[in-house]
Symmetry: C2
């Protein structure tokens, strides 16, 4: 039995996002993507991926000499954990309070609000149907 991986740190999350975007990747590939933006040494990326492997945040294929890393869990799972954690730490455990802040115009763009409304519409419709039957 294996416990779920811990929450990723700041830097780990940066790498995870690359792996989620690209799918399984070598260290060099991940480094190339990051080099475009934040700049990080090659061995730094390598070390971090090794640590993440130790934590169970990523899995890797070692059959070829150049290992291929992949995220161990889908983005939704990690994102849900992060949201849950933030709700717990900063919003007294209430998802409602968090959403309220997320909907403030300083945070959500016009497009965000439109899409969120559509989301809620769908949610309400599905629930209404469920209630009728």
């Amino acid at each position: 039995m294996q416990r779920p991986p811990p929450l990723p740190t700041e830097g780990e999350l940066r790498l995870l996002r690359v792996l989620w975007d690209r799918g399984p990747s070598t260290v060099r590939e991940v480094h190339a993507v990051l080099g475009a933006t934040g700049e990080s040494g090659y061995t730094t990326v390598l070390k971090l991926l090794q640590i993440m492997h130790g934590k169970g945040l990523v899995i890797r294929d070692e059959t070829s000499r150049t290992h291929v890393y992949a995220a161990a869990v889908p983005p939704e799972t990690t994102q849900r954990q992060l949201v849950t954690d933030l709700i717990e730490r900063a919003f007294g455990g209430s998802a409602h309070n968090l959403v309220m802040q997320a909907l403030s115009p300083q945070v959500a763009s016009r497009e965000d609000l439109d899409r969120i409304r559509a989301l809620i519409d769908g949610l309400e419709r599905r629930e209404a149907e469920g209630t009728e039957r």
Copy 2:
């Protein structure tokens, strides 16, 4: 001119929540609240409050010998910063993606969903009126 205070760390947020709940408080009072739950040494709380004062996260009244600490910013401001930060780090900058995760049943309770729907209803109504005129 003074820059806004940085994002609070985990431990700092714990103390901030006490100050937001209680209003201005002495070290001893904050410590008493935390002692009920997480258990933290008195000097630990003191030291952390001092650091937070240095960072501008809290203000303090030093007129009496026992200083009185208060949060420097209202909870909404910090919460908005935290949400924005998380959206940036984990959701590719899209508030919509975050709200989607927050609305998942594993995160939001039935009460949360009800209240969020009411929130959206109000938001839509206000916007509809604005559109008509």
